[in-house]
Symmetry: C2
Subunit: 143 residues, 2 copies
């Protein structure tokens, strides 16, 4: 039942954010900034609107996070060969290193969780979640 699958999604998102946020406190980062950093670390330099697409958020909110990251020296603007006005945003070496450290900590924590679930089950869960997300995302797009 998809309804029952959807029910724990928001509490899970909340508690995940709480755990992540606790670790981020000492680095003076917010979960929003961390999310942008993650996209940049994994997908390379992107424009602000593209980051918004990746995270399903409006470009205006992303711009705030990007500005905050630049203020902290964790991200920087780069000229965009394909567009004079829309610059590319990239992680600085400090930003990339910081995110690597953050992710390592998160992976360590996750390593002990859901121990009774095999990798096949987790893979199945991932596929189901992706399918549901795809269709809900499409539904949300009809606005």
């Amino acid at each position: 039942m998809l309804y029952d699958l959807l029910r724990p999604v928001r509490p899970l998102a909340l508690n995940s954010a709480r755990v992540v946020e606790t670790s981020l406190r000492s680095d003076d980062l917010t979960v929003g900034m961390r999310a942008v950093l993650e996209v940049l670390a994994e997908q390379g330099p992107l424009t602000v609107p593209v980051i918004g697409d990746r995270l399903d958020l409006a470009r205006q909110g992303i711009q705030r996070h990007v500005n905050d990251l630049i203020d902290r020296g964790l991200a920087e603007q780069r000229p965009n060969p394909a567009h004079r006005r829309s610059v590319l945003i990239a992680t600085t070496p400090a930003g990339a290193a910081l995110f690597e450290r953050i992710r390592a900590g998160e992976l360590a924590r996750l390593g002990t969780m859901a121990a009774e679930c095999g990798s096949a089950e987790i893979a199945t869960a991932l596929r189901v979640l992706a399918a549901l997300h795809r269709d809900i995302r499409a539904e949300a797009g009809r606005s």
Copy 2:
């Protein structure tokens, strides 16, 4: 990989909220009020702190939603046999009927989604998500 399973959770929560919120507009409800209504509809009259436990939220925030529901005639206070001060919150007939209508619409929408996933896969996804939520929730509790 649990990390990859966790990644789409927040976008999914966001897009779900967007879809639900759109339907709630016409009823002058917020997703927070809907969440409280859902708990009351499924679990019967509860006190405000208990609703907070169910939703992993602080009682103060729940109190706001409950007050909003009472203002709209969708919930009401009932005397609590076990506690003179801490009253029970229950749906009114109007609140129960409204939530039933809301849920029917949501189920209808969900009916067409993730069509390629069988019920066994969805059940597996639910188990994995529940296990992950259990452990992340415990981790979040250590604060």
